[in-house]
């Protein structure tokens, strides 16, 4: 009963004391939230209008820098896009900056043919200039002419063939599954209820599912979380967050260590063929590359390199 006057009394007490660290923009200056809404609406309309124009205008893009053999010869070296982090294929030693791997050797063989020298000479005279590429950058780099060709574990697919030229395949890769030695997983029959981590943007999940089905394990309950990049995947495996790290064998090689092993190395599935990619416009170079790749495969050089670089 005595307290009835209290709730009203606090109103007149201390006001204007420091307001705790709020970081929102005050509505007063510049643009208000309501103003923002109407502005956004106007922008959306504008975007819709300009998109129709853009559609009409941007179909004929893409620069056609001189990528004929003559241009390369007068330049004095061949620009090749290669992987920098795939052991055995394209790998750059961070200490020396030197590239090694089968795809590096292929690039030197192509350069040798272009300049009419031997592969050893091409290597000695530095006739190839390497540019590191990733899955996301290799296409655009060929398109813009910054590299003459890309030889970087590039899988030949019908969709890609519509955008670029590909040589005949020089190597067939498949999917490998890495497990911790301590996990007790010894065969694909142990995969029921397990977690198989895969990389984003790869169809590894579909390939593993198809393999399980063909092995008679179509009823297995397996989850496939997708990770942004391979180092995170490797960390997820090492820390035990996933049971299996499934990825192209070319890539998996880099992540093999003492505590993990390849699950059923003899089981080959999810085959994919790597080819040398060139721009649609560079027909001469494409023909030459195809010839070199054909020779390397038939002469057994590729098989020898695969052994030399211990490709999985």
């Amino acid at each position: 009963m005595r307290r009835t006057h209290i709730p009203a009394s606090d109103a007149s007490l201390a006001r204007g004391t420091a307001v705790a660290g709020g970081a929102t923009a005050p509505g007063g200056r510049g643009i208000t939230r309501r103003g923002f809404v109407s502005l956004a609406g106007a922008l959306a309309l504008g975007a819709a209008a300009s998109s129709t124009l853009a559609l009409a205008g941007c179909s004929g893009s893409g620069s056609s820098s001189g990528q004929g053999l003559k241009a390369i010869k007068s330049r004095g070296y061949l620009n090749c896009g290669v992987k920098t982090d795939v052991m055995g294929y394209g790998y750059q030693d961070t200490a020396t900056g030197k590239f090694t791997g089968m795809e590096i050797d292929i690039c030197y063989a192509i350069a040798a043919k272009v300049f009419g020298v031997s592969s050893a000479t091409a290597r000695r005279r530095d006739l190839v200039k390497f540019t590191g590429v990733t899955a996301k950058t290799r296409g655009p780099l060929v398109d813009s002419g910054q590299v003459d060709l890309v030889c970087a574990t590039y899988t030949i697919t019908p969709e890609r063939k519509q955008s670029w030229n590909f040589s005949d395949p020089y190597y067939t890769d498949s999917i490998g599954m890495l497990v911790l030695k301590s996990s007790g997983i010894k065969s694909v029959a142990d995969l029921d209820g397990k977690i198989v981590g895969v990389g984003e943007g790869a169809d590894t999940k579909a390939q593993v599912q198809a393999m399980l089905k063909s092995q008679g394990h179509g009823d297995f309950k397996v989850s496939y979380p997708q990770y942004l990049d391979y180092p995170t995947l490797a960390a997820a495996l090492a820390s035990g967050n996933i049971d299996v790290f499934a990825i192209d064998r070319s890539i998996i090689r880099t992540y093999v260590n003492d505590s993990n092993e390849l699950l059923e190395p003899k089981l080959v599935f999810g085959k994919q063929q790597y080819g040398v990619c060139t721009a649609k416009s560079s027909t001469e170079l494409t023909r030459l590359v195809n010839g070199v790749v054909g020779t390397l495969v038939s002469s057994g050089d590729i098989a020898r390199w695969a052994k030399k670089y211990k490709l999985l």
Binding site: H5, P7, A11, A20, G21, G27, R33, C58, Q226, A235
Partner: protein
Amino acid sequence: MELFDPGRWAQTLSNSDLLWQGFFFTIQVSLAGLLVSLVMGTLLGVFSTTRSRVLRAIARVYVEFFQNTPIVVQVFFVYTAGPMLLQAITGASHVVRIAPFVLVVICVGLYHGAYVAEVIRTGIEAIPRGQMEATQSQGFTRVQGYRYVILPQTFRIILPPLANQALNLVKNTSVLALIAGGDLMYQADIIVADSGYLQGYIVCCAMYFLICFPLAMLVTWLEKRSKAPRKAKATHAVPAATADGEV
């Protein structure tokens, strides 16, 4: 330009059920994370205003640690080291996995708990000590003083920055994508990676906007309200008769 390519938009939008799935997952994570952060924040905020040196030190160390290290590192650390630590603690035969949902709720909750603690501390400190003394001189107990005088004012002060923290928390749940957590960012990233079309990111942004913009408007409204002069509430008139009984 590819950005306006209708075909790419159509393909992206055909995957929108995945994005909606991520959208609702993000909302769930945010709500749970907010709850954790409010509990942690209130606890530590009160700690840092008590007289106890030890409690104040605990609150200080906690707040400084979480405010001065990136949440991505914290999430990665818990993700990679957590299962092994749990194994060691529980003595299990196999590493003990933490579901991404739980992991991020805890990480985001603890991280924003530090900010919430600061908000609550400044909120409490904003009320002059004299007011508590005044309530006590009027015959209030300490609890009553908090209940009727201090806390109503504190709430008015802290609500805008709290809503602001909720907004940041929603955006920070996107670290889930790094550990394949199944949230909105994760789903968008998969769609973009699968198709190579960046439209997925635009839709993803729009969906985050859908959650955050109402929160931002709430912040603005709360700020406006906390600055407005407060009207006295209608109270029951004190019957004159009872005054007779008073000394």
